[in-house]
């Protein structure tokens, strides 16, 4: 038996007083997120104080016509880790992908969360099918259109997570068989205008940073397609490390070329970076990479209608439509 096995429970309990294992993670996250939402890192404790209210703010996370890639992206978050997010920062009161309850117990959890007198924030991942009055997309016998209107209608804030929720996404690409529309378009009659966190998937920091902004500083400033300027204020091209090759006119002519191997600009191979507003080059994915670094041209996945407007991919924009 190792020596630590003999440590008494009492001693450990004393060590835990005043905090828990994730305290350090939590404070680190607060400092990082303070920076992400445009404050100095020294405001970390201020963010922490705002988040450490007696009750964790309630979040209801709905899934529409989507692929769950956005939820998976949130699982990849490190600031904070997702366990810290759902145990210490927010209360994830409904999310079909991870929730323990199923069937009517899940539906009761939703109704309970919606009856919370302190209110809740609503996130919607996925587009909303409207064909045949919405019958092509239902949850538990209710159309998504009706259910999401009910949930979002009472929310303190609505976030459209991912390009499908923001702009319709893949299922809205021509010929849009299910007549899928964005959250903003579907819920406009209710006067709901969501914050769009686009991307396929979005970088998790853009979602979590927006949630924290809402909780601490209120509504972030949005661009003309509903995205927080904090994260979507410049193009991928603006911040691209390969920009120096673009400026020098150094373009890789093919994927098998020596120039592609040496990391030259991918513009002639169809990079949509100049037309795409997102923070991929600086935020990075999975803390280690992003498509252009890995030699893959940007496909413009955070732009409205990119599946039709920016396709065909991987070829020079001047050849588009050929």
């Amino acid at each position: 038996m190792s020596s630590s096995s003999r440590i008494s429970a009492k001693l450990l309990e004393r060590q835990l007083e005043g905090g828990h294992m994730s305290r350090r993670d939590f404070m680190k996250f607060c400092a990082i997120v303070a920076t992400a939402i445009g404050m100095d890192a020294s405001f970390g404790p201020t963010v922490a104080a705002a988040l450490e209210t007696k009750k964790r703010p309630s979040v209801i996370y709905m899934h529409g016509a989507e692929c769950t890639g956005c939820t998976e992206a949130i699982l990849r978050a490190v600031d904070p880790y997702v366990d810290v997010l759902i145990m210490e920062v927010i209360s994830m009161d409904y999310c079909e992908t991870i929730m323990a309850a199923a069937g009517h117990s899940a539906n009761e959890a939703l109704e309970k969360a919606m009856a919370n007198p302190e209110g809740y924030y609503c996130t919607i991942e996925g587009a909303i099918p409207t064909r045949d009055g919405g019958l092509w997309g239902q949850v538990g016998g209710e159309t998504m259109l009706s259910l999401f209107s009910r949930v979002a209608g009472k929310a303190k804030g609505v976030i459209a997570m991912g390009t499908c929720a923001s702009y319709g996404g893949i299922q809205a690409a021509a010929p849009n068989p299910s007549h899928a529309v964005s959250v903003g378009e579907a819920l406009a009659p209710l006067g709901i205008s969501p914050i769009n966190i686009s991307g396929c998937p979005p970088n998790p920091i853009n979602y979590i940073g927006t949630v924290v902004h809402l909780l601490t500083k209120g509504m972030p400033e949005l661009d003309d397609v509903g995205r927080p300027k904090l994260f979507f204020g410049s193009t991928v091209h603006d911040k691209c490390p390969r920009r120096k090759h673009f400026d020098a006119g150094e373009f890789a002519p093919s994927f098998e070329s020596k120039q592609a191997r040496e990391g030259w600009c991918l513009h002639l191979l169809g990079c949509r970076g100049p037309y795409t507003y997102n923070n991929c080059p600086t935020a990075q994915f999975n803390q280690t990479n992003w498509p252009v670094r890995a030699g893959a041209p940007c496909i413009g996945c955070s732009e409205p209608g990119f599946w039709d407007l920016l396709a065909p991919f991987n070829r020079d924009v001047r050849m588009k439509g050929e």
């Binding site: 529409g64 692929c67 999310c95 299910s178 280690t288 599946w307």
Partner: protein, 549 residues
């Protein structure tokens, strides 16, 4: 109130902790399921959206079928197009693809077990009552990895603070809260699982990070393309070292914690190793030698009637898709090259059409696909590592080989597959590192799109055999059909009225508490449903209840 002799109907909708949306209907007689209907309610129409687009672009679109098995749809699409072009990518590119696919598979198995399935077996709240010293001792015994009781105290303190807050978040209304007759782990075992659930959340993102070194990002890889892969930068020694460090850290968790937890479950839930059976099995070969294109590491094939003594080779000509019980215009069963996707929603009718899924059949029979199919084939063929690992698990749990064909056997097969694949990754990584030393290592080759051709891509992905079928005309996509694992496993009945694998597996499953039917979740989750394009289309408004008792 728990009624273990219940007779009547149970509907679980939404069936949560899956990708996409699924409705399960069962008829129960004296506490045992007598009939079942699986309604996978999916229609986003990706097969229609890609028509007319350049075949080399299609992988971008179909990858968005699913953000969980994400990259597998991209890879299988690239394989279909390269098959149509009679093109073979350079060996180093094939190796990068193998590394992407294998890390995806292991990652997906890990997240499925811990974060989508394990709450069917362990009680997070009960972990607070455990003796951490006893739990650490038991964890070390089953996992072969030393655990500090202090770590368990920390987990307990955190769980206690969470539960005491009164805000149960994603655990609200969990079936185990307040006790459930079908949850049988001790508090110490619950603590071991709870701790691994939380640690697993941190491990999975490292495995995804390892994959992103080659894929640019995860989910939704962007480096794979028709012709090869784009990621020259990933071949630098420091990038390969970064991958290796992440890989080794995750391998320890897979080889110890994941293995140990399946021993705990197998011992406590022997009845789950006798129910949940299906009859026939199919999967595809994959992970071919990147140089020769031969000798697949995963060998596909066919097994009939759970016969561990005989396996057959897969014959693509025997594949057909039925639409009789799906929301499509009626047509005779068709081979995927001739497949038609003509949606026509007509409401939920268990005696007629009741699902958006088509029903794939092989020689007219329903076939289970996925980790159990692949491990059963490997076991029957005497593949050493699979035989040893499965026998070790069976003997630790006092079970027999026939118990593999069950809910618990399916879940254990997934664990064994994660271990076997994880251990194989190192060899592929070493091979790539050797090739990367050559400054001219090729990752792409030029190609020419044919004017008219057809091709198929097969992939042994996380949830089973995946195939995409393309017909090219005028250099554009003229027909595209995706035959996905979850339509094999979770589709509806076929034209002959034969039950799909999940429907067959539910028959005979006992339900201890019809109000909290955790045994249904256990069995359905054991297939790791990934309904992808699912958009819960059900009951054109006439039936309001989520559950009819």
């Amino acid at each position: 109130m728990a009624d273990k002799n219940y007779t009547g109907h149970i509907t679980v909708d939404p069936l949560t902790r899956i990708e996409g949306h699924l409705k399960i209907d069962v008829e129960v007689k004296n506490g045992v399921i007598a009939n079942a209907w699986s309604s996978t309610q999916l229609f986003r129409g990706l097969e229609l959206i890609v028509l007319g687009r350049p075949p080399e672009d299609v992988h971008n679109y179909v990858q968005r079928a699913c953000g969980v098995c994400t990259t597998s749809h991209a890879l299988v699409s690239i394989r279909a197009v390269e098959d149509a072009m009679k093109f073979k990518a350079p060996p180093a590119a094939e190796l990068v693809r193998l590394l992407i696919l294998s890390t995806l598979d292991v990652h997906d198995h890990l997240v499925h077990f811990y974060h989508l399935h394990a709450l069917d077996f362990f009680d997070m709240a009960s972990a607070i009552k455990a003796d951490p010293v006893a739990a650490a001792k038991q964890a070390a015994q089953v996992s072969g990895r030393e655990v500090q009781p202090g770590d368990y105290y920390m987990v307990q303190a955190r769980l206690k603070k969470f539960v005491d807050s009164g805000q149960l978040g994603w655990l609200t209304n969990a079936f185990f809260l307040g006790g459930h007759p079908s949850y049988r782990l001790t508090p110490e075992e619950n603590l071991i699982l709870a701790s691994n659930y939380l640690e697993g959340l941190r491990v999975q993102l490292k495995l995804a990070r390892a994959m992103a070194i080659f894929s640019g990002k995860n989910p939704h890889a962007q480096t794979m393309r028709v012709g090869g892969v784009t990621c020259y930068e990933s071949l630098r020694p420091e990038r390969l070292a970064e991958f290796r460090a992440l890989y080794e850290e995750c391998r320890t968790f897979i080889n110890h914690n994941y293995v140990g937890d399946l021993t705990i479950l197998g011992r406590r839930y022997p009845e789950a190793a006798s129910y949940g059976r299906t009859s026939n099995f199919l999967d595809f070969s994959d992970f071919y030698d990147p140089e020769t294109g031969k000798n697949p590491f995963i060998r596909g094939g066919i097994m009939w009637k759970r016969d561990l003594k005989h396996t057959e080779e897969f014959d693509p000509a025997q594949l057909q898709e039925h639409v009789t019980r799906g929301w499509y215009k009626d047509s005779p069963p068709k081979h995927p090259y001739e497949g038609v996707t003509d949606p026509a929603y007509s409401g939920y009718d268990p005696n007629g059409k009741y699902s958006w899924a088509k029903a794939p059949r092989y020689k007219g029979e329903p076939m289970e696909t996925g980790p159990l199919a692949r491990r059963a084939l490997a076991y029957a063929r005497g593949e050493k590592e699979t035989v040893e690992r499965l026998n070790a698990w069976l003997s630790a749990c006092n079970l027999k080989p026939e118990n593999l064909f069950s809910t618990m056997g399916r879940t254990a097969s997934r664990m064994v597959e994660a271990v076997v694949l994880m251990n194989r990754i190192e060899g592929w990584l070493n091979d790539l590192a050797d090739r990367a030393k050559h400054p001219d290592v090729e990752l792409n080759k030029p190609w020419k799109m044919p004017d008219k051709a057809k091709g198929v891509g097969y992939c042994a992905v996380t949830r089973g055999g995946l195939s995409h079928w393309i017909r090219i005309e005028g250099g554009k996509t003229a027909n595209y059909q995706m035959v996905v694992p979850s339509t094999w496993n979770l589709g509806p009945r076929c034209a002959a009225g034969k039950l799909s694998p999940v429907e067959e597996s539910l028959v005979g499953v006992p339900v201890a508490d019809p109000d909290r039917p955790v045994e249904i979740l256990r069995t359905v989750h054991s297939f790791d449903p990934c309904i992808a394009c699912a958009v819960h289309v059900i009951n054109a408004g006439k039936e309001k209840s989520f559950k009819v008792l």
